[in-house]
Amino acid sequence: MSVTLARIEPSIADVGDYVALLKPRVMSLVVFTALVGLLIAPGHLHPVIALTALLCIAVGAGAAGALNMWYDADIDARMLRTAGRPIPQGRVTPGEAAGFGLTLAVFAVVTLALLVNWVAASLLAFTIAFYVVIYTMWLKRSTPQNIVIGGAAGALPPIIGWAAVTGGIAVEPIVLFLIIFFWTPPHFWALSLYRTEDYARAGIPMLPVVAGEAETRRQILLYTLILAPLGVAPWLLGYAGPFYGIAAIATGAAMIALALRVRAERQGHVASKQMFGFSILYLFLLFAVLLADRLWGGLAAQAVNLFAA
């Protein structure tokens, strides 16, 4: 019997590689949407506890990113967009990424539970598990509905933020959840339209790979038609002012116009690239305006009253 021992090379991973494992850009969007959920919630949370909650949510999101890169290292290596990540580059081993992700996930959830509350911590644990197990391990490689269902993980942070303050869940953060949930498919499908070969090479059944470009363009329009009215819902439901309402109608109309252009496009991907770029701005604007509206809520209403008088 012979035993082969794998030679273990000392790691060359520096801090930047570990930061890259956390997917900082995704993390920043998670922190921002969680912050909005936290600030629109009724009640008071001490600023130190609020910052702690945000820190835990950020670390939890980063942990999910690291676990995703651990599991997806094989397909990341085959895609141009992701081939430069630390594991395909050989700078971090899959085991290091898994250990890093698991450690951070446990720390984030336990710290949130002990220092803030158990509801927010349970939601964070559910979000991480959903993203890693349901999306990464299962849906991503098996169905074109991967980003539709998996998008729930990215949509949960406002609910976690809300729960950190109130210890519960309500309609307001669920509407924010639905906005991100219905924003995710048109956002990623617009990207996948001009990255189809990349996804096909990696064997990921994204919608354009499985159902073709025409069907993807149709689905982008359908989801955008649901998304735009949902974007206006916080105003219609009365927890955002007219300033938010006007911004949501204007940006929602721009999203529909872009989706119509994507639908009509026969050659090239100019419209889908514009749609992808604008969709990021759209979500950011909706949440930023909602935040401004709530923080200086009185101001917008007063300005409108002033003009009306």
């Binding site: 000392p10 790691s11 991973a13 801090v15 001490h46 506890i49 702690t52 820190l55 710290t111 220092l115």
Partner: protein, 62 residues
Amino acid sequence: MTIVSDAMDEPKPETGIRLTEQQLRARRSRSIAIALALGAFVVVIFVVTLVKLGANVLTRPM
């Protein structure tokens, strides 16, 4: 006796892994980051404890 002590003085051949400059630099940067993260964690726990207990932090059961 002389022969034995000469043999003991001879430098032993290097065994194990010798880190390259790059590996040493990377390990040092990781160590500093871990120290900073642990320090930050301690500060968070300390400050949150003060916030949660407030003035009660000074209360001791007699």
